[in-house]
Every structure is written in structure tokens, then in C-alpha cells.
Amino acid sequence: MLLPAPSDVLLTLVQGLKEGTLLLAFFSSLRRILVSFTLALTLGITGGLMLGRIFWLDRLLGSLIIALQSIPSVVWLPLALLWFGMGEGAIIFITSLGATWTMIINTGAGVKRIPPLIIKAAQTMGVSRLQLFTRVIVPASVPAILTGMRLAWAFAWRALMAGELLSSGTGLGQVLMMGRNLADMSQILAVMVIIGATGVAVDGFIFRRLEERVHRRWGLTG
């Protein structure tokens, strides 16, 4: 048998949610990704703003970051396991990592795309360096930051699942591995459904909506 019947999968899904095992796994993964995503946003936006504004820093690190971004995050896992041990630390590390590079690159590109005219206009109105940053550079980069967040979310979610598959704990990835060990295909598929649905739901209900709202306000869409 290659695949279980859809009804079996549905049954396992409902049961798992009712009993709480799947729900528990879901919340465990959710907690991890929220921590990692917050970390990645903080580091990534800060880094991107700096890279976008500080020319020599961009020259120094720009291409390195693009190179790092092209490494799948899960490749860092062996190293992370050595650094942090078989625990939360390693998973959060690799989940944050993939999202961070993407955030830096997108934010930085957004900052560099700010029309010079906007900056000049602000300067003729007497903004201080700090005000230029907080009241012009940051808000002007918002569309790029949002696009970065969508991508970063996708990267982080993938990295998290890969990390959980390969390490211990109670997340969705680990339940997936458990299903394999028990040869329980309907459990595996039920978890896959949750993983897919979460990815789509977060993208569609949160990021896409935010992005659309900002684009409408700025007149970036038709």
C-alpha cells in the first residue's frame, strides 16, 4: 500500500487534535517558530537597515550574506548540534538563520531603493540624522520589509520542520518521525496536512493581507 485512504488520514487528524497529541505538537512547533521568527526579524531588519545605509558595510558583507542565504538552513544543523546540544537551541538557531539572511537582503534592498528625492525632501525640512532614520528610512522600507517577512516565514517554516525531523523534542517534525518509526502512514499524512495548512494560513491571512494593505495605501498596485 502506497498511501492510506483519505478517510483514515482525516480520522487520525481529528483524533489527534481531540486527544491533544497533534495539537500539542502543533503548539510546540508554533512556539519555536515564533521565537525564531522574532529573533530573525529583529536581527534581519536591523542588519538590513545598516547594510542599506552604510556603504562600506554593504561592500564588506553584502555578497557574503547572499552566499550564506543560498545555503539551506538545515545544513547548519550538525554544527548547531555541536554548539547547542540536542535541544531547543539548535532548532531555534537554524530556524532563525534562514529567515535572518532573507530579512537582511530584502530590507537592505528596500532601503537602497528609497528614491533619493524623498530623502532630500526630508533633509530640506530639517530632519536630524535620527529623525531621518526613524521617520523616513524605516517607514519608506516597509513594503520591502513585508515582502521579506513573507519569504522569511516560508524559509523559517521549512527549516523548522527539517530541524525537528532530525532532532528530539515534541514538535510536528518529531511526530512525523514518530509516525515513520511506527510505520503509521496516516499519522505522517495528518501531520503533513497540518504543516501545509499552517504555512498557507499564516501567509494568506497575515502576511499577504498586510502586504496588500500597505500596497494599496502606497498605490503600488493597480
Binding site: L117, Q123, M125, G126, R135, V136, A140
Partner: protein, 279 residues
């Protein structure tokens, strides 16, 4: 005392191959309180560069720029750009209030004042929409309102109306003149259009091609609104056109220039139409 005084201002840029491109040479220029000066010159000659220097966005390589007897500072000079340069993330009202916040005014006061300036450019009912929802002419009016709200004694305008259709441009020119007559600010206004210069200016300053130097200054002490079909303007339009078109020998040129100008002036009662200065 002159509100704006430029003395021997020079500016060069570096080209692709590191070669020096001289853009401004020895610019001497004064604008008095309440004076409307138009700057005419061929494309690429350095008009925007000159304005950016006065605004403090660029520093000159040599020479002095004084506004109100002090070195340039953003609190004394306001600038309106060709394409507006509004902030797309702020409403029209907040765009106008922005400069006031920056200066430390409270949110509420700033918005109240911004409203007043939006009223002056007849855009009050558009206060709560975003810049992209406005037409080009309306955006330009917002840009003007935002600069006026800061109440700088000196205004720089870099081809503010050149992207607009003729009708809108006419309307905005009238509005600007009206506001200027109320506030008596000094204005330095860059334009490509001889017609626009003749309609607006107390004095027209003509720049040469790059490197820019002041080629001619023409004073136009005529009342507004002006009818450009009337003799003095027809005459000056022709003169400025020919001045634009060709580089003639300065000495010879200025002689005929003076003669023809004087013969024209005689027809006009009590009007001394120019101070010619060939550089």
C-alpha cells in the same frame, strides 16, 4: 540687505572616468526679501545643482552661500522639487504636518496648521487620502503647502510645474503668485520656460551652458497679472529666446541688447524694464 547671497560659488562633479566636470563657475547672485527671481538655463547646465547648494543638500567647492546673513540651514530655506517628493506612507495632511513635527510641534497643533495650509492650496477635502490618489498637479500643490507650512523666509522651487499640463500650470502659477504676494517671501524659481519666467519673475537670471555662469540678468518691474501678448513681454520673449539659442560675443551682444531694450522701453510709460548685466 539681500536675503540670499551667493559669492563666487563653484562646484564640480567627478565623471565616470574620474574626470572633473565643472558645473558652476563663479556664481554671484543676490535675492532680496520679497523678490521673485527666475533662473533660466539650458538643460544640464547646473540649475538644480545651484538650488541644492542653497538648500544645503550639497556643499560648494568654493565660495560663500549666505541666507539672511548666516550660512545655509534648513530652517530658513524651503524647497519644492519637480516631482513633489511626497511621502507615500503618510496622508496628505500628515505630509504637510511632517516638517512641523520634525521641528518639535505637537501632533495636534501641527495637523491644525497643516490644515490651514491645505486650505490655501484648495486641497482641504483631500486631507485624509494618500499621495498616489492625487493628480500630479494636486501633488505639487501638497508639496508647496508642505514647504509653506514651515514658513521659511526663502523658497527654492526647482521646475515645480514643468511636469504639468498647460492649464494646471497656469492655475498653479496664479496660486503661487497669490501666496507670494501675501507672504512676501524671497523666491528662487528654476524653469525651462521663458514664458513662465516672464509671467512670474521680478528678475530673470539667465545661465549659460555648462559650466554655468550668469549670462544675463533682466529686471521686469511690471505689474501682475501679466499679458504676455503685450509689447514688453513680446520683446523680452524674443530676446530671451535668442539669448538661449546662441552664444554671441559678450561685448557686441550687450550693446545691441541695450539699444533694442531701450527703444522698446520708450513706448512704455514709467517702466524701466531691465538692468542688463553681461558677464
Amino acid at each position: 540687505m539681500a536675503l540670499l547671497r551667493l559669492q563666487k560659488v563653484k562646484k564640480s562633479f567627478f565623471g565616470h572616468k574620474g574626470e572633473e566636470i565643472e558645473v558652476l563657475t563663479n556664481i554671484d547672485l543676490e535675492v532680496k526679501q520679497g523678490e521673485f527671481v527666475c533662473l533660466l538655463g539650458p538643460s544640464g547646465c547646473g540649475k538644480s545643482t545651484l538650488l541644492n547648494i542653497v538648500a544645503g543638500l550639497l556643499s560648494p567647492d568654493a565660495g560663500a552661500v549666505m541666507v539672511d546673513g548666516q550660512p545655509v540651514g534648513a530652517d530658513r530655506v524651503g524647497m519644492v522639487f519637480q516631482e513633489g517628493g511626497l511621502f507615500p506612507w503618510l496622508t496628505v495632511l500628515d505630509n504637510v504636518a511632517f516638517g512641523l513635527w520634525v521641528k518639535g510641534m505637537g501632533k495636534k497643533d501641527a495637523r491644525a496648521k497643516a490644515r490651514e495650509y491645505l486650505r490655501r492650496v484648495h486641497l482641504e477635502e483631500f486631507a485624509f487620502i494618500y499621495p498616489h490618489q492625487l493628480s500630479g498637479g494636486m501633488r505639487q500643490r501638497v508639496a508647496i503647502a508642505r514647504t509653506l507650512a514651515m514658513d521659511p523666509p526663502f523658497l527654492l522651487m526647482d521646475e515645480p510645474f514643468s511636469a504639468l499640463d498647460t492649464r494646471t500650470r497656469r492655475l498653479l502659477q496664479q496660486e503661487l503668485l497669490h501666496i507670494w504676494q501675501q507672504t512676501r517671501k524671497g523666491i528662487l524659481f528654476v524653469t525651462h520656460s521663458i514664458e513662465e519666467a516672464l509671467l512670474l519673475a521680478d528678475r530673470v537670471v539667465v545661465l549659460s551652458g555648462r559650466p554655468a555662469r550668469i549670462k544675463q540678468e533682466v529686471t521686469l518691474p511690471f505689474p501682475r497679472p501679466r499679458d504676455l501678448r503685450r509689447p514688453p513681454f513680446v520683446f523680452w520673449e524674443e530676446e530671451l529666446k535668442s539669448l538661449f539659442g546662441e552664444e554671441r560675443d559678450g561685448q557686441e551682444y550687450s550693446q545691441t541688447f541695450y539699444d533694442r531694450a531701450l527703444s522698446q522701453t520708450a513706448v512704455l510709460p514709467a517702466a524701466r524694464p531691465f538692468v542688463g548685466r553681461s558677464v
